[in-house]
Amino acid sequence: MSSRTAGEPLLAVESLGLERGGRELFRELCFKVLPGHLLQVDGPNGAGKTSLLRILAGLSRYGFDGRVVRHSPLLYLGHHSAVKALLTPRENLLWHVAGECAYSDRQVEEALAKVGLYGYEDVASHALSAGQHRRVNLARLYLSQCPLWLLDEPFTAIDKGGVAELEKLLVTHVERGGAVVMTSHQLLQVAYEVQMLSLTDGLVA
């Protein structure tokens, strides 16, 4: 896992098709996510962006055609923040159910400081706002060593400054050999080649 060459895909999608409620959302979707890719999935509401990401993550395992081959560990951030209101932000990250890494206390503090939650480490999460909940979840990105990130609407409820920080983080991640697949309705303001996958008109590279 440590010596991955740059050309090897982290994720390969072969002729993926999905139908929901008698409506075809997408079909014959083929793409590969390579290290260094920043892929934005675009489409109107109900176009199947979240469904696609859940299929890519492996949470939806039935009801679609085609094949998804995952070659690397992945980090998935969905609509729900997976932040427990009864735990403090620190506990939420230290005992996170995704079980990717055993983080030290200091790493968690640094990550929380980076998402602007310095001083909130030991405040019960139910005292935090919706945006701060999202930020606790986003702190996982600063801790993560997963090469592949699947982010479903990561900018929801995040303020302007937070969005800029997050965009910077995404670029750092792809520049160090990771890859990002994300859904968002707003265009990324980054100095990096963003690939667009439009679910209505197919892949525009």
Partner: protein
């Protein structure tokens, strides 16, 4: 593109082993339970209430009560377990933690054992520990109390594991309460039969150990098989 993408050598994921992960899950679940003490207290309160009602309903004849006591105590223990098993995965499903758990690199089989373990520690274990008090309330002969505690310790663990299967299957449903009872009550029956038989035999002065051994065997079987079913149930519930 390739110039901007150096080799992925900086990204190496070192996930914790299964055991440390399960320990952290257990700590997480126990902390969560400790911050909602009312939910730990509820089954015990339920137990105390029903035990207090029986003398009123059956009449205050101590001998009669003592005869029914093993069965009564076991039925209440079973019902109070049924009340709580619905909630094992519920809140994790609602806030998205369950999705993350399914994606964890550690085997789901072991992670769900940590969840069930935490559930048992906060329900079955406590119930077994305070059961002597309730036993005295309905006049269970004192020589049967060790058998009662032992059978509850073993039996409630089986109930938690079996209840976990029902909880995993119904977690995606808005009102799974009744369905979960229908699903898992048949599997609760053997535990009830042998659990109350163990106490009954202790009351009569015959050895309770054969019955306890059978419950222990059920527990071994449940530990081996229930997590498989729970893991499969969770995957189905999250998929849907």
């Amino acid at each position: 593109m390739s110039s901007g993408a150096p080799a992925a050598s900086t990204l190496t994921q070192r996930s914790p082993g299964t055991l440390p992960f399960c320990v952290s899950l257990l700590r997480r679940q126990l902390t969560l339970a400790a911050r909602r003490p009312i939910e730990i207290g509820n089954p015990l309160l339920f137990f105390a209430m029903v035990v207090a009602l029986f003398p009123l309903g059956l009449g205050p004849a101590p001998d009669q009560l003592a005869g029914f006591a093993p069965g009564i105590l076991w039925i209440i223990a079973l019902l109070s377990n049924l009340l709580t098993s619905d909630a094992v995965f519920r809140s994790d499903f609602e806030d998205g933690s369950l999705e993350q758990l399914l994606l964890a690199p550690q085997p789901l089989f072991m992670s769900v054992l940590a969840y069930i373990g935490a559930h048992w520690l906060t329900t079955g274990l406590l119930l077994a520990l305070v059961s002597p008090v309730f036993a005295l309330m309905i006049n269970l002969p004192t020589q049967a109390i060790p058998a009662l505690v032992a059978s509850l310790l073993l039996g409630t663990a089986v109930l938690s594991l079996v209840g976990g299967i029902g909880a995993a299957l119904t977690v995606g449903l808005k009102r799974g309460g009744m369905l979960i009872s229908l699903l898992i009550l048949p599997f609760y029956m053997p535990v009830l039969i042998f659990g109350s038989a163990a106490v009954q035999n202790a009351v009569l002065g015959t050895p309770a150990t054969p019955y306890l051994a059978i419950i222990a065997a059920m527990l071994c079987l449940a530990i081996a098989l229930a997590p498989l079913a729970i893991a499969a149930g969770l995957r189905i519930s999250v998929d849907a």
